[in-house]
Symmetry: C2
Subunit: 327 residues, 2 copies
């Protein structure tokens, strides 16, 4: 009959939802993306997701859908298949996305945390391909970590996803909404770098404002800071240097606990990894006496915005068949 | 013929070596201990260990030895069965203990890091019995961690044992031999508490010396500090409070990364857990927004000095039979 077995990966974020169809060997066949418009409510949102999946499948001749994987911004409950995230998906209080899609498409559906699917994607087809001890660190709007051991997502007690991005790297640092002072996220996430820059400019005793600072201080964002650092601005350089030191401590701590073989970096702040790298390398080299910190391969993610759909597809493939590459 | 199948667990530390015989259900039948006198050289030391095992086995009627597990102070190489630890076992540069014992007793021999065997012991027959996500934290002369997942020791890349006791909790802290400033060990290990107390007394601007301070400042040890804190001494209380804060950050970080179900505490400093607990509980409760820090069961180890021999026995049982309780 010449049908093509397909799995679909869905990456559901606070702004957009992306879907892609893969063959079982990990070849991305088609993908598409639409705004999720979460505030219109889960019913409308689920309808958009269903249509998106149909659109992608409709572009493939004789597609035979085998399963759907979803990576979603959390909190969520993998076991019950529900998204409980009114924070970044307004009104999505308790949305049974797994039942909705499995009913519509009559296939198995898996739900995962999006930090885990992004890491699984890099493990399957990206920068961490086949690495048995893989750690993923994303620094963007927030800071997230995921750990992939032998191709499986590491899960804590009751399947809870660890929040390594909120581990404390400087207990005298600012207070984060997580409850702790000086976690990674409050020190090195994009909005954190922006806020620290706003505070530093406001506090400048001479009232001097560097040329890169916009009229409205609150318009400073992390990209402006990194650009100013590249142009040699001393204040911006000091801020980036401070962020580099905190990232270095965070990486050392992850290495000290997990001793991964590879750490995959992603997220908008990590686009400036070249600015952070000398500080990070020097620190990890200095602290490599008990653990091989300086030998751990630290690489940039390769799949960009597609990491999530790759990983979501891999998650359902794992569920369908524990040897997806041989499927 | 009525023989009793036995496994022997050996716990090799810098001062003593302990051996115990177990039945496959985890019943400790006999145990014995001798000083290792490492500086007399590995040959003499291995002879002492062999004699110790023979002594223990000789006390059991019709013992049929099935295997030997060894938990040793590291560094060591599990794969090659070699101890490479001239630091705490002077002259033990590259000692093939596995071959020495397997040749002598003609049974399989397993070698593990002693932090891992202590944790395995608590998992098998102690405070973490059957817990699928178990983290062990030992604070004594040093600070060590071990992670037991589904009854298996978590190992990093190339089987390397993580050194969570050297993860950074305060980057402005003192410099440790691990290369980092402000790791747990340099802040909360027994000798670290003692050193901080010596510095604090020496720095007291009024030259006042509390009654608990010995004539020679360098004679202050961690036990004196905790005892003085119990007696209401303000300086000692402040030092214990500071240690409690650092331990709290360390525990939060472990929870944030691993989300264990149970954390088992051991080591001489942890004998004062009651002094630390209010600070730790309050901090974990404050920081339980993203991870269930305040729900994690934090308990004291139950096997005391026997944890290592229990865990060493379990390690070889696992190798002999992946279902030791059904053996």
């Amino acid at each position: 009959m010449g049908t093509t077995p397909i799995v679909t990966g869905v990456d559901l974020g606070g702004t957009n939802v992306r879907a892609a169809a893969f063959d079982p060997n990990g070849k991305l066949l088609r993908h598409a993306q639409v705004p999720i418009q979460a505030a219109q409510g889960p019913e409308a949102g689920l309808a958009r997701i269903k249509t998106l999946i149909e659109t992608v499948l409709g572009q493939i001749d004789q597609a035979e859908l085998k399963g759907i994987g979803i990576g979603s911004t959390g909190p969520l409950d993998r076991e019950t298949g529900r998204i409980q995230n009114p924070y970044t998906l307004p009104t999505w209080e308790d949305v049974d996305i797994v039942s909705a899609l499995s009913t519509r498409f009559s296939v198995p559906v898996a739900l995962e945390n999006d930090a885990d699917t992004a890491a699984l994607g890099e493990y399957w087809q990206g920068a961490g391909k086949g690495i048995s001890r893989l750690l993923a660190l994303t620094i963007g709007t927030g800071v997230g970590t995921a750990v992939i051991l032998g191709g499986e997502v590491y899960r804590g007690w009751r399947g809870i996803h660890g929040e390594g991005g909120h581990h404390v790297v400087d207990p005298s640092g600012p207070l984060c909404y997580c409850g702790a002072r000086g976690c990674m996220e409050i020190l090195v996430a994009g909005p954190s770098i922006a806020r620290l820059a706003q505070e530093a400019v406001a506090a400048a005793s001479d009232g001097h404002r560097p040329a890169w600072v916009p009229a409205n201080l609150s318009d400073i964002d992390a990209r402006m800071v990194s650009q100013a650092a590249r142009n040699g601005d001393p204040l911006a350089s000091a801020l980036m240097q401070s962020a580099a030191s905190h990232i270095a401590v965070g990486l050392l701590n992850m290495i000290t606990f997990f001793v991964p073989e590879v750490i995959v970096l992603s997220g908008s702040v990590m686009n400036d990894y070249d600015l952070f790298e000398p500080t990070i390398r020097s620190y990890l080299s200095q602290c490599s006496i008990l653990v091989p910190s300086s030998s751990i391969n630290i690489v940039m993610a390769e799949l960009g915005n597609d990491a999530g759909v790759y990983g979501a597809a891999y998650a359902i493939l794992r569920e369908l068949d524990h040897q997806p590459n041989q499927a």
